[in-house]
């Protein structure tokens, strides 16, 4: 196989080999984290199960982003584009989930009073 990059050729410098090793290690770390997440799912963590699983997912995602997708080596514009998309995802999720989560009772009222105040069909407080 002829070398694609003339000049770089087959010369395996130490730095290049180290980079390949880093990628392999990242892969192994990802599998380890997945294994951890899998194992934890058998424990009775109740309300903590989801946040912990998501936290591990965030750790895995950052590994993929920084090692495989070389996020930190990209130009500022690229990082900004990715970040903006993430912000929009969080916006959509936050406001929509907040709607469903807060629909039951009107806020800003003490619970005992809120329980006595039925909602009108429009979701507004009755006069």
């Amino acid at each position: 196989m002829a070398p694609l990059l003339p000049g770089v050729g087959d010369a395996d410098s130490g730095a290049e080999r180290a980079h390949a090793r880093k990628l392999a290690l990242a892969g192994l770390a990802l599998l380890a984290l997945a294994g951890l997440s899998f194992g934890l799912s058998y424990l009775r963590l109740a309300a903590w199960a989801l946040p912990i699983a998501l936290l591990i997912a965030v750790a895995k995602a950052s590994l993929v982003l920084s090692c495989f997708m070389e996020f930190w080596r990209e130009a500022v514009s690229v990082r900004l584009a990715a970040l903006t998309a993430l912000v929009m995802l969080l916006l959509l999720a936050t406001f929509t989930i907040a709607d469903v989560a807060t629909r039951e009772r009107p806020p800003l009222l003490p619970p005992e009073q809120a329980a006595l105040t039925p909602l009108t069909p429009t979701g507004a407080l009755p006069p």
Binding site: M88, T96, A98, D99, V100, T122, G123
Partner: protein, 551 residues
């Protein structure tokens, strides 16, 4: 006419080309200027169609009862009108036609970053548009352009094919957005730094961000409705635990920012026209830039104000109500900047500026009514009435369409190398403005009096205002036709314009009009800022005595 150029140079080639060659040259072109013109033709056809539907709707409302169409046809007509205008005209109109033509010229590039992708996205648009129109023409659709569940999942009309078509058009929007973002980031001439970018390019940049990030969410919500209609997946079906309000969340997460896809490019046009015809630096370039980016961002935070009466939580509604008003802050920054740019400027009153005056009036009117409907308690009264219809037409027609017309006249000499007749142009502008106001102002009154939107019939006491609105729509249509006639006449017989008839300093005017195939014979240094009207410009052509020309 002090400057004389040879406009026939590129119109008539030495040997008449065969029709097939000409068609291939245009339809498979990768030249951003030609793609822009192709888009212009396609979106203008969509405007003509959507406008025709609107006229029919208005004629139907001449009398309280049946006038020309049946109730079922009426439902299909308003859906057709909405879908055509929103997705086939307003969203692509300024970014694709003018954006494609001008952004590379304004940043000193010879092309967009991905020319083949650009052509592909044009053909995706045409294919999707044809799909939508065929589906709705042959099958009919009666859900309104918002496709709200649960009705859209059970409506016995062509829901799935229409949504497939809109889905396809969405791809074109996304690809165009990607192309512009990358072009503006990577293709700028070395001296054109971010804070020297022309304001229209900034506007297209903000628009593209919205296009790229909002459109996929529309795609998803349409996909879910399609699956529901075709296979009864019922994800929003209350009987199966579903929540129809969630559909509205997804839909408006796209469709509210989509309003800014329509209005941001329009604002970009206004910034250019104001600066050129006041012959003056924008009062604050940075204020307009930051307000553009601010609107692009805040536009994503306000979608819930479409859903105040949908059963959303009071907490969310309150948050959305407050956030919605932020948009007005940024819009106001822009309006005041334009006004103070005009103040003490050496005004050259031409047709584009006249359209911009109309824009300023109508946009402020529509924007203020927008602040009013973003107020929860008021919206409960106005929701789903003609008040809302009037409000968003003031923004979309009064704002986006007048700016589109301003752009059309302003850059007409750039594209064709010819001058249009100011007399015809100004008459058309006056007709459009007055016609528009006569059409939609009565609708504010109707809505406030309680006339609901999308209803076939209305009580007889609403007749007078409805008739006024219909008459206004004829005035508006005749204005548009007159503008079309004026430009068509100028395209064929107009006198040569010279390279820079408006003596604009903006970057796109620093090449020949029409520009050569590769945009610039030699990319200029752009040492002089795009809006610097104080530094003398040695090569500037002498001042024209008058633009009144025989036609």
């Amino acid at each position: 006419m002090t400057t004389t150029f040879e406009p026939e140079l590129r119109v008539v080639p030495s040997a008449p080309p065969r029709v097939r060659d000409l068609a291939r040259e245009w339809l498979l072109t990768r030249d951003h200027k030609r793609i822009g013109i192709l888009y212009f033709v396609a979106t203008s056809l969509a405007l003509a169609l959507g406008g025709t539907f609107a006229l029919l709707l208005r004629i139907e409302h001449l009398t309280p009862g049946p006038t020309i169409v049946s109730p079922a046809t009426y439902d299909r007509l308003f859906t057709l009108h909405g879908v055509t205008m929103v997705w086939l005209f307003l969203i692509p109109s300024i970014p694709t036609a003018f954006g494609n033509y001008l952004v590379p010229l304004q940043i000193g590039a010879r092309e967009v970053a991905f020319p083949r992708l650009n052509l592909l996205s044009f053909w995706i648009y045409v294919f999707g548009a044809a799909f939508v129109l065929c589906a709705m023409g042959l099958g009919g659709l009666d859900t309104g352009w918002t496709f709200y569940v649960p009705y859209s999942s059970s409506s016995p009309s062509a829901v799935v094919p229409t949504l497939v078509g809109i889905f396809i058009v969405g791809w074109s929007t996304i690809l165009t957005g990607v192309n512009f973002i990358v072009t503006i980031h990577t293709m700028r001439a070395r001296s054109v730094s971010w804070m020297r970018l022309p304001l229209f390019t900034w506007a297209i940049y903000g628009t593209s961000i919205i296009q790229v990030l909002a459109t996929p969410v529309l795609g998803l919500s349409l996909l879910i409705v399609m699956l529901d209609h075709a296979f009864s997946w019922g994800l929003f079906d209350a009987a199966r635990g579903g929540d129809p309000v969630l559909y509205q969340h997804l839909f408006w997460f796209y469709s509210h920012p989509a309003v800014y896809i329509m209005i941001l490019p329009a604002m970009g046009v206004v910034s250019e026209v104001v600066s050129t015809f006041a012959h003056k630096n924008p009062h604050s370039y940075r204020a307009i830039v930051y307000a553009t980016l601010g609107i692009a961002f805040v536009g994503f935070l306000t979608w819930g104000h479409h859903m105040f009466v949908a059963g959303m939580s009071v907490f969310d509604a309150g948050a959305f109500g407050v956030l919605s008003m932020l948009v007005a802050v940024f819009s106001a920054i822009k309006v005041f900047t334009w006004l103070s740019t005009l103040r003490n400027g050496s005004i050259m009153l031409k047709t584009p500026l006249l359209y911009v005056f109309a824009f300023l009036f109508l946009f402020v009117f529509g924007g203020m009514s927008g602040v009013a409907v973003a107020t929860m308690s008021l919206d409960v009264h106005w929701h789903d009435t003609y008040f809302v219809v009037a409000h968003f037409h003031f923004i979309m027609v009064g704002g986006a369409l007048t700016a589109w017309l301003a752009a059309l006249h302003y850059w007409f000499p750039k594209v064709t190398g010819r001058l249009y007749s100011e007399r015809v142009g100004m008459l058309a502008a006056a007709l459009v403005s007055v016609g528009f106001f006569a059409t939609f102002f009565p609708q504010f009154l109707l809505g406030n009096a309680g006339m609901p939107r999308r209803y076939y019939a209305y009580p007889p006491e609403f007749t007078a205002l409805n008739v006024a609105s219909t008459l206004g729509s004829w005035l508006l249509a005749s204005g548009l036709l007159l503008a079309l006639f004026g430009l068509a006449h100028a395209f064929l017989f107009g006198p040569p314009s010279g390279d820079n008839p408006w003596r604009s300093r903006c970057f796109e005017w620093r090449t020949a009009s029409p520009p050569p195939a590769h945009d610039f014979e030699q990319v200029p240094s752009f040492e002089l800022d795009a809006y610097d009207y104080t530094t003398p410009w040695p090569e500037e052509p002498p001042l024209e005595s008058s633009a009144e020309e025989p036609s």
